[in-house]
Amino acid sequence: MTVRKSNLDSSQIDAIEGRLAGTLRPVQPPGDFVQRLRGRIRFPERTQIVLRLREWQRLGLAVGAVLSGMVALLTFARLMYQMFWRRSG
């Protein structure tokens, strides 16, 4: 079993502190991140966020409607094909 000393001499303290100081140095957060977060914090106001969400909802609704329309059209075309084209062929 190894016996560990429970005290530090000043040279050990200096050595560990030297290593810690060399390793734990202040870092600069990336500029674009700071800028982005600044924008999120200062702007937009809550009302603008709600408005923007409404715009997104509207856009989603429009995209959904277009896709549903296309599916309906495709289904109708297939029905026509099955009923007339394939039968006559």
Partner: protein
């Protein structure tokens, strides 16, 4: 920002009344400190960004409930950061092991970017050891070395007496010495 221009008490009062501009000033003042704390606790740049953003979002959402209890505002922010980092570690340990070589490479303030890329193996080992310490010891080391705070200032933030901080620091150095010795890293090598 020079401290003479930064009247925290006044800014906090305005921020707690919903003044977004005042909260913006708090953000500018504390962003680097919180980022550094999260960065060294996670060792991952992307997660550090994500968690730092969440710290400020959460602070902004709860600033109205903030009451001055005689401790620095930074203690409140660090508490939020600590909780988010703790959750992050919990979630991460459930999902996967952290690759040990996944160490951050962000240029420090003083060094040139290319220099920061060449991080010595011993520094990597030490960073790994630091991240294995209990959270309060990690916090102490970050406040002491990254932020250059005194034991008294650290005590204010951590809610401990100056003597308790000194004692905790000593125990931390002891355990680091033992761990460094266990990894055959020579302390006298520098």
């Amino acid at each position: 920002m020079p401290d003479t221009e930064f009247n925290e008490e006044n800014i906090l009062l305005r921020a707690s009344q919903g003044d977004r501009d005042a909260f913006g000033q708090l953000y500018e003042h504390y962003i680097e400190r919180i980022f550094n704390y999260v960065y060294y606790r996670t060792g991952n740049l992307h997660d550090a960004e994500d968690l730092t953003a969440r710290v400020f979002q959460r602070a902004m959402n709860h600033i109205r409930n903030y009451t001055d209890r005689g401790v620095p505002f930074s203690a409140w922010l660090y508490r939020i950061a600590h909780n988010l980092v703790a959750n992050w570690h919990r979630d991460r340990s459930r999902r996967q092991e952290i690759p040990l070589n996944e160490l951050p490479v962000v240029p420090s303030k003083e060094e040139r970017p290319e220099t920061s890329l060449v991080r010595s193996q011993e520094q990597d080992s030490l960073l790994r050891l630091i991240r294995q310490l209990p959270p309060e010891r990690q916090h102490l080391l970050i406040l002491k070395f990254v932020e250059n705070l005194s034991n008294a200032e650290i005590g204010q933030i951590m809610g401990r007496s100056e003597g308790a901080v000194k004692s905790l620091y000593h125990r931390t150095l002891l355990s680091l010495r033992d761990e460094l010795g266990a990894q055959n890293i020579n302390l006298e090598g520098e």
